[in-house]
Subunit: 221 residues, 4 copies
Amino acid sequence: MAQADAARPLRKDAQINRERLLEAARELFAAKGLDVTLNDIAHHAGVGVGTAYRRFANKGEIIDALFEERLQAVEAVAREALDEPDPWLALTSYLRRTLRMQFGDRGLHQIMDDPTLGDERINDVRVRIAPLIVELVERAKTAGAIRDDFAPTDVTFIQSAMAPIMDSTRDVAPDLYERYLTFILDGIRSDRQVSLLPAPALSSAITHSAMTRKRRSRSAT
Amino acid sequence: MAQADAARPLRKDAQINRERLLEAARELFAAKGLDVTLNDIAHHAGVGVGTAYRRFANKGEIIDALFEERLQAVEAVAREALDEPDPWLALTSYLRRTLRMQFGDRGLHQIMDDPTLGDERINDVRVRIAPLIVELVERAKTAGAIRDDFAPTDVTFIQSAMAPIMDSTRDVAPDLYERYLTFILDGIRSDRQVSLLPAPALSSAITHSAMTRKRRSRSAT
Amino acid sequence: MAQADAARPLRKDAQINRERLLEAARELFAAKGLDVTLNDIAHHAGVGVGTAYRRFANKGEIIDALFEERLQAVEAVAREALDEPDPWLALTSYLRRTLRMQFGDRGLHQIMDDPTLGDERINDVRVRIAPLIVELVERAKTAGAIRDDFAPTDVTFIQSAMAPIMDSTRDVAPDLYERYLTFILDGIRSDRQVSLLPAPALSSAITHSAMTRKRRSRSAT
Amino acid sequence: MAQADAARPLRKDAQINRERLLEAARELFAAKGLDVTLNDIAHHAGVGVGTAYRRFANKGEIIDALFEERLQAVEAVAREALDEPDPWLALTSYLRRTLRMQFGDRGLHQIMDDPTLGDERINDVRVRIAPLIVELVERAKTAGAIRDDFAPTDVTFIQSAMAPIMDSTRDVAPDLYERYLTFILDGIRSDRQVSLLPAPALSSAITHSAMTRKRRSRSAT
DNA sequence: TATGAATGAGTGTTCATTCAT
DNA sequence: CATGAATGAACACTCATTCAT
């Protein structure tokens, strides 16, 4: 009764509140992860909790909406990638750009890490994205750019694989995940070239200090 | 089996309960992640909450104990890998075996994904493992088996990258993560060979149904 | 009535609940001491626990609020006593009136007995009361009404000394503590008069039965 | 079945354990108050908790036993006081000596502050002490040393009145309670003399710092 | 319609007491 | 008999969600 899907456009102020809530959620989720309370989100958005519950049935809903929005952006990127004439570049730029989108958003990471999150509407977007990815992959294969046993569904898993890396190195080596993406791409490209790595490996000293820092800040909470 | 060595040996029944608690924790963490309550763990182990708190100072302690035990096993695998004469096999078998260990344990995933979890004892084990990995990687490089820009710290990140894949496909395609490990290994091997993939790609239909199933079982909880 | 002044005024229903909680706390603290649970207080006030925690950050806060309110009343009594022209009457009426206030409130006793309870705000009130007492005592000394070696800080200790007496005789001889206050006042007055005791001594029979009754009602809890 | 009263003497080792437990309880109660756990007491006594429960039905029992023992010592003091030929000295030395006994024992204070603690056996001792106090008071009255309206039951209340004073000043001014005892004694002596006070008043500065210190150490816990 | 007050089940944790070893 | 492991009710406190204003 409350949450209008795409149907029946929301009243303008309601729409504004919805937008504000999503923005607040994005910021807080990005900064502190999915555990922030709905109270915090609502206040960060400048509205009361009640309003949040008028726009979203529950906390999951707001997460879903955010994920949906993000996926819609992913969909857009996929469409743009299809405009790229070079099939290899099309595929890899899709990967690079969507991964960059995930980066810097703690909440989005959690979501991409945990496939149990997300609802039907999310799937709808996924369903729309799937054929675009199929197209990207098929073109690359047809062009002989990638190995033959590579499949479209592999793309998503590659994306999700970067999540833990981003998550644990965001502060100390923001580009590190691209290093591992490169390993993978070098593993699937047909020309067997060895790419220059876009980021140096993390030194064990940094690894250690980064982890210690995290632990500190955590126990402070 | 883990802490009992150093401390004065627990009474037999206490030892049994300790074991039961760890086993219950492992199962529940594996099944539902680290958020399960200590109450659930205790009851799953067939003991009262108080008993859990007699054996472990707090929830973190039980996680640490589990992680320590697991990491000690990882350490053992690393040592065994060093006995393998073929440097490439040594490195890859270490990866394959430890990943297989992670598999099936949701909690272990979370722990390996989140370096803020775990205490000093955990770090001690990490510190012991690090040089073993360095050795594995150096040998492989010296033998010309892997690319020169590969670094020992890459090993851990590769491991963590498999986590979300395992996590989302455990039920429908348990071996799938090996497919992506292979992509990576093909990306770092010097001979530029293209390996046979150990698992077929997931069909998009399966992808969809798997996720839906997960969501169901979750909302049932 | 207490904190609401400074902060933005609470919504009317919130204010009512706040009042109810304080009243419930006062009653239960009075009846059973400071160990009552916040759950009990909330339910006694006819609200849920959550409400109690919305109004007060923690159990200590509610105690502080109560104590502050009480101490403000004590402050008022001290100011009124200073209006009394007869210095002896001023001092003794302050003592009698404040002790009467303490009477019947087990929690207030505990608080006045234990200086470790109470926060900054409490101390602020204490700081405001201190000079008033100094004035009361100095006047009485100047007028030659009390012995010269009496000091302002003695007043508070005399008050606290009555606590255990009140506490143990509240039900059987509510005025008994005034008997001991009189002994003390007779010990500090300069004219060396012997006052008529305001309450007869407790017979040993009553002493015994009173204590037994208390023990009964306690073990029932 | 377990706890032998005065009847059937305990086996020697049992007796020793009982003694040890009481001593441990006395020390811990004195040092930390009545809230210490029975576990701590047992371990401090060098025995297991189970043993403590074999000797005492529950925690209350051990408190009672302690109080009983203490009261027996009080009884002894009363008998000794009766040997004092000067009736005023007899009464006052009884008060001074028993108060000194209370002093330094946090647990004993709590017990004397809270008349709901203590059981039947305690009363038995009280019953034995009562006539001794009656005798002390009657002698003093007959000798014309104290006011006529003073009653034997007043003695106990005077004792209990000192408890909160001792408790709050133990660390900063151990003798302070004697100051207030003197006020009272000056209030009941017939000769209307004004005694030299055995302790100076607490300065308000000390009062404040003492309280602050207490609060500090408390919040540290 | 927007607000934020109210709710209470649920969380980690403690401790008096019981009972198997 | 002594031990200490086991128990679970109880506590202070949090937060997703509902509902009166």
